[in-house]
Symmetry: C2
Subunit: 359 residues, 2 copies
């Protein structure tokens, strides 16, 4: 059923792309014609985390709140792209909207570590230059994706961490907040509940079929925000931002700040942002693997994303999903969990928002 | 000339692999026969960093010290493999020898950060299970590769960082040392010299042709130790350990603890450890890219390593090298710098040690 839905979504999106001016074309479109078609094309796709998201556990008002925020986010990036802005800028500003909302496990809504702190990770990559920036374990930076961007643009480094990354954030005049800013009652209760259940256990049992009564508990392992965009100049970019895993210990770093695992962008192939059980996404080098399958095995984005998310990732024992857009504007929103908060908009402004695997 | 040398090395190693019992074989060896040939085969390869290593800057006694330590390290792993030990164990113990020596930028010989501290990173990966472990920014763990192994074997995580990683190290009863242990006069002088040259600049100018008078200064950006091994059961493993970059700031994390960038192992393809200008190795997802070229484009290890290190990495602006061994025991020691400390031993016990690009 999930596959049918994805197939349907993809067909819908491809159908949207086949707009009026292309109707007279024959089926014998050459590669050159395809390339010409994609000039000026643009699109954007986002996720707000994947996991055990079931309709029966979600109130109508909460569902509407998620949908409204996803729409606000994707429209923000879409407007930037429509006005000729860069994919990198669209990715950053779109992620800012989700970081500033308590609904998602990133920025304001970040989950709590075992020590009751909020440690945030983020990464961003530019598909044109293959330049990238990433930060891990920051506790005072309001928008970690902006810090990742500063690392990419204004340092000789790709990845900064902890106190050092925060020092760099201050040097770059980024907005610094008191760690209290990241306190949200729901997330703190999630930590307390998780600690009560098993004071020694870092994570909940991993069972895709488990339906938690509290829609926030599912985020203990999952939940991250991400965005991938194609701009009118044919440049791709991707970014990911997260608060990590509820009750995490030992300075754990997941896939979100790892270039190649949680984020990857390359104009030759696609821009990809992942969300899921981070350990398996690191081991599978998930984001880059999708790009490599496209570049080396000539798979389409849809084929590569399906191979990695429906076959390789579950085979390893992992779960989660990705959102991606390729250099022609084709979009993938592939996940192997019960749900993934997601939205996409194409050049024509058609918007699609989804939460569960079944529409 | 470098290419000629590499070709020569490779021929030598391949020649060694073609031992007496294979002499009667025709050229029409089938894939099945090849697989059978590799049963019981084993081998090991190590690096101690790549960079501007020139003979004219190296005293005979220092050169001999490097060669002796490289030999001790590679023989340690080789003995484990010859006795039927696992590739993972061989990788770990071999790296321990180099971590415990002040000659290499890892463990005891780690370089100093801008704040005059030693922050160590390491990672390890098992090619059979695709399990992996990594640590970044530890300051009190004598052998970071052992901590990476503990993360892989005894936690649900892949990557731990900073104080949290050190707490985990204590919980796992690893050897903890005072940060003073990592003080070496040579490395501290390197930091002071670098700070004098340019108090604002994190790194030396990147120029492969520059010959530094002090053999330690070249390590400001480069230098890392690594090992890749194939055991008698056909399992591959790789590991990398480093002190990072002299004068590094802001909690910078390089490629060494990043699975897919500095370290990757997969029984289907090869085990790889990288050393070089870390930022470019992260952006190129170098270790996994070699594996992907082998798996998806059916390149040999030699072809894939050459493509990534001689073409893709320099095109991006990077420099450095890799050592790798594939599932059949073929070895690659590919680098695009003036030198790379390296050694390898095959099943027959043939040893090769190298420092410069010219023998």
């Amino acid at each position: 059923m999930k596959k049918l839905f994805l197939l349907f979504s993809l067909s819908l999106f491809l159908a949207c792309n086949t707009s009026a001016e292309k109707e007279t074309k024959t089926n014998q479109t050459t590669e050159t014609e395809k390339a010409q078609d994609s000039v000026g094309n643009f699109g954007i796709v986002i996720h707000g985390g994947a996991g055990t998201i079931l309709k029966e556990n979600m109130s109508d008002s909460l569902e509407n709140a998620y949908k409204a925020k996803l729409e606000e986010a994707v429209r923000t990036g879409h407007e930037i792209l429509a006005n000729g802005g860069t994919a990198i800028e669209a990715v950053q500003r779109t992620i800012n909207i989700m970081e500033n909302s308590p609904l998602f496990n990133a920025g304001k809504g970040a989950v709590f570590t075992n020590e009751g702190k909020n440690e945030l990770d983020a990464s961003i990559m530019d598909g044109q230059t293959l330049n990238a920036g990433a930060v891990s374990g920051v506790t005072t930076v309001k928008n970690p994706i902006n810090l990742a961007w500063e690392v990419m643009e204004n340092s000789e480094h790709v990845m900064l961490s902890g106190k050092g990354a925060e020092q760099f954030a201050r040097e770059r005049d980024l907005e610094i907040v008191d760690p209290e800013y990241f306190y949200t009652e729901n997330r703190f209760k999630s930590l307390e509940r998780l600690k009560e259940r098993n004071s020694e256990k870092t994570e909940l049992d991993h069972d895709g079929k488990t339906a938690f009564v509290d829609p926030f508990i599912k985020d203990s392992k999952f939940g991250t925000v991400g965005c991938a965009a194609l701009d009118k100049n044919g440049n791709l970019a991707a970014g990911t931002s997260t608060g990590g895993m509820t009750n995490k210990k030992w300075g754990r770093i997941g896939d979100a700040p790892i270039i190649g695992a949680g984020t990857y962008a390359n104009n030759k192939t696609a821009a990809i942002s992942a969300t899921g059980w981070g350990e398996f996404f690191i081991r599978g080098v998930v984001a880059y693997d999708i790009s490599a399958l496209m570049e080396y095995k000539k798979m389409s984005l849809a084929e590569a994303a399906k191979e990695v998310i429906q076959n390789k990732n579950p085979d390893l024992g992992g779960s989660g999903g990705i959102i991606a857009i390729d250099h022609q504007g084709n979009v993938s929103m592939e996940f192997n969990t019960a749900g993934m908060y997601r939205a996409k908009m194409n050049k024509s402004g058609e918007l699609e928002i989804g939460i569960y695997s079944k529409l």
